[in-house]
C-alpha cells in the first residue's frame, strides 16, 4: 500500500486532499488492483486448467477463440455466464442463496491482501499475516454451507456438509505445518518470513530443515483438501453429487464459485511459496536478475500446475478415508513436526 500511496502522490495533489480521502484512496486503489488481478488470474487459470487437462488427455483443448491456442476462451465464457438468465430456485432461501457465492469469493479475495508479491508489492504487511490468511480463507466454508443449505437440494446439502467437515478438519494439520516455519522465523508477518529466506535456494525453508521439508508436503496436501481439489474434491464429487454445493447455481453466481475456487488455488500456492519456497527472493544468491513479483508468481504457478496435474491423474478418496487421512495420518505427523522444530530451537 505504501507504494500505491507513493504512486498517488506522483499523479495527484495528494497532500491537499481531505484527510479521510488520504486514508481511503490508497485502500480503494489496492482493492481495485487486487480485484482486477484476481479476475484476470481466475480466467487465466481456467484456461490453463483446460489446456493442461487437454494435453494430458491427448486432446487440444480450446483452440479457436482469440486465435492463439484459444487464449480468449475464458473471456468468451465469462461473457456467456454474464448474459445467462439468473435463476433462483423457487424453493430456495433467496437471501442466503444470493449471498453464498459472494461470501465464498470474499474468502478467497481477502487473502490476497497480505500476499507478498515483491519487496514493495504487498497491499498490507500485517504483523499477523499468516493467521489472517488462515482466518479469511476459512470464511469460504461459511459460504459453501450457505449455498448448500439454501439451494434446498439434497445433493447440494450433501456437498455443503462434506465440504464443511473436510475444510474444518484439514485446517488443523495445515496450520500446524505452517507453524513450523513461524517458529523458526519467530514472526507471523509474510514479509519477515520471506526476508528470513533471502540469499538463494539453500536458504529456503523447504531445503533448510528436515522438518520444514516434510511440513511443505503436509501443507501442500492439506491445501488441496482446503480448496476442494482432487483427490479431495469430495464436496463437488461430480460422479456422486452431480456438482455438490453449487448444483443449483448458474450464470454469474456459478462463475463466482469457479472464480473463488481458482483464486483460492492460487492463494494456497502463494502461501506455500512464501513460507517454503522463498517467496519473491531470488533462486540464486547474488545480484537479483528477475523482478520479485514475476518470480513469486512463477513459483506459485508451478505449484498451481502441480495441483492441476494431480487433479487429472488421481481418483477421488471416499469421505471416511479422507477423514482417516486427516486425523490419523496428517495431524500426528504435523504435531511431530511442530515438536521437532521446537526441540531444535531449544537445543
Amino acid at each position: 500500500m505504501d507504494s500505491i500511496r507513493w504512486l498517488l502522490k506522483q499523479v495527484l495533489n495528494f497532500e491537499k486532499l481531505p484527510e479521510l480521502l488520504q486514508i481511503f484512496l490508497p485502500m480503494l486503489a489496492s482493492c481495485v488492483i487486487i480485484l482486477a488481478f484476481v479476475n484476470v488470474l481466475g480466467m487465466f487459470l481456467v484456461w490453463l486448467e483446460r489446456k493442461v487437462s487437454a494435453h494430458m488427455q491427448d486432446r487440444l483443448g480450446p483452440m479457436y477463440v482469440g486465435g492463439w491456442h484459444g487464449w480468449a476462451q475464458s473471456i468468451a465464457d465469462g461473457i456467456k455466464l454474464l448474459l445467462k438468465e439468473d435463476i433462483v430456485p423457487a424453493a430456495a432461501d433467496p437471501l442466503l442463496f444470493k449471498m453464498a457465492p459472494v461470501v465464498v469469493f470474499l474468502g478467497a479475495f481477502a487473502a490476497f491482501v497480505v500476499l507478498p508479491f515483491g519487496e514493495y508489492s504487498i497491499a498490507a504487511d500485517l504483523n499477523i499475516g499468516i493467521l489472517y490468511v488462515l482466518a479469511v480463507s476459512s470464511l469460504s466454508v461459511v459460504g459453501i454451507l450457505m449455498g448448500g443449505w439454501a439451494s434446498n437440494n439434497k445433493y447440494a446439502l450433501y456437498g455443503g456438509m462434506r465440504s464443511a467437515a473436510q475444510i474444518v478438519s484439514y485446517e488443523i494439520p495445515s496450520a500446524m505445518a505452517l507453524m513450523t516455519v513461524v517458529m523458526l522465523v519467530g514472526s507471523l508477518s509474510m514479509q519477515e518470513i520471506v526476508t528470513a529466506q533471502k540469499g538463494g535456494i539453500h536458504h529456503w525453508f523447504i531445503v533448510r530443515n528436515p522438518f520444514t521439508f516434510i511440513a511443505f508436503f503436509i501443507y501442500f496436501t492439506c491445501s488441496l483438501a482446503e480448496v476442494n481439489r482432487t483427490p479431495f474434491d469430495i464436496p463437488e464429487a461430480e460422479s456422486e453429487l452431480v456438482a455438490g454445493y453449487h448444483t443449483e447455481y448458474c450464470g454469474m453466481r456459478f462463475a463466482f464459485f469457479m472464480l473463488a475456487e481458482y483464486a483460492s488455488m492460487f492463494v494456497v500456492a502463494c502461501v506455500a511459496t512464501t513460507l517454503f519456497l522463498g517467496g519473491w527472493s531470488q533462486v540464486l544468491p547474488g545480484k537479483p536478475w528477475i523482478p520479485g513479483p514475476v518470480l513469486f508468481t512463477l513459483k506459485a504457478l508451478v505449484l498451481v500446475f502441480v495441483q492441476m496435474w494431480l487433479r487429472w491423474s488421481l481418483p477421488r478418496l471416499r469421505v471416511d478415508q479422507l477423514m482417516h487421512m486427516c486425523w490419523k495420518v496428517m495431524l500426528p505427523i504435523s504435531l511431530v513436526l511442530v515438536l521437532g522444530v521446537g526441540l531444535m530451537q531449544v537445543i
Binding site: S53, R59, S239, L314, P315, R316, L317
Partner: protein, 373 residues
Amino acid sequence: MEVDIAGDLMTLNMGPQHPSTHGVLRLELKTDGEVVHEAIPHIGYLHRCFEKHAENVDYPGVIPFTDRMDYVASMNNNLGYALTVEKLMGIQVNNRVRCIRIIMAELNRIASHLLAAGTYGIDMGSYTPFLHCFRDREKILDLFEETCGARLLYNYNWVGGLMYDIPTGFEDKVVDFLDYFEPQVDNLNRLLSYNYIFIKRTANVGIVPPDVAVSYGMTGPNLRGSGVKWDVRKDEPYLGYEEFDFDVPVGLGDHGPVGSCFDRYIVRIKEVKESCKIVRQAVKKLTPGDVHESLPKRVKPPAGEVYMRTECPRGELGYYIVSDGSLKPYRVKVKSPCFTAMSAFTEISRGAMISDIVAIVGSIDIVLGEIDR
C-alpha cells in the same frame, strides 16, 4: 425414560438423470447421513418393446433391433441372434465367416470393456483414463466403420453369413491396432488399475461372494469377478471357440475379499488382453471364402423352439426363439446379463456409502438399453 435417538432416513433419488447411473437408471437410496440403508433400483426408463417389435418383423428384420439392446456391444448382440436362428434352421457357416465373426466379436468386447473401464475411472473421480480409453476405442470403431459402414449399430452378422466381406488389408490393420493397443493396457493399469487410491476405493466395496453371484444368476465378468470360472466360450463353445487358446481370468482377491468391485474391474482388464490373443489367432486362421455362401434366400425356419447363449462382454446373452414356421418369429425372448446383475444390486449395496453406490453401479457395468430393452 427411553430416548429414541435414531433419526429418520432421508430418501435420496439418484437418477434417472445422474452422471454415474450409466444411462437412465433410477436408484432410490434410503440414506442415514452418508450410509445407505437400502438402495432400490427402478428400471424401465428405456423400454422400447423389443420383444413385441420382434414379433412383427421378419427374422432378418430383428437384427437391427438387437443392435439397440446393448448398444456398446452390438456385434455380440447380432452374433447371438444370428447363431440362434442358424441353430434353428440348421445352417453351417464356412471358416471365413466364423473367423471374421470371432474377430469382430472380440474387437467389440475390447471396445466395450474399454468403455466400462473408462467410465469406471470417471465414477472414481479420475477423468483422464476415460479419454485414453475412448481414444483407443475410437480406433476399433474406425475398423468397424471400414467393414460395415457403421460405428455403433452394425447390423453386420446376418443369419447364415455376414453383411459384407472384410475390406482388403483389414487383417494387417487389425494386427497393427493390436500391436499399438496391448502396451496401452499396461499404461491404463499404471494410471488407474493399480493406483493406491483406486484400490482403496474399490477393493473392499460391493463384495459378492460366489454363492450369491450364482444364486442371482450373475454372469460374465461379474460372475468371474467372484471367483467362479465360467465362460460360455470355454464351457459351452460355439463358433469354434474351442480351437482357440485363451485363459478365463477370474477375480483373485489380490487386495481384499474375492468378489469386490476391484475384482470385477480387473477381470475386464485381463479379458481385454485375452481378447487380443484370440483376435491374433483368428487373423491367422482366416482362409479365403465367400461370406454369402450359406446365406438363405428366405429365412423361414421350421416350426419349433430354440435357445442359445453366447458370451457377451457383459455376460451371457441368451435368445429364446419360438417359430411357428412362418416368416416372422412367434416369440423372441432375451435373457439379459445386465438385468440379472442388476437384480443383485440391493443385496450388494446394503450398508454401503453413497460413494460406494457409485462404485458398485460402475463395477457391475450395466447398460440400461439391455436391461429395459
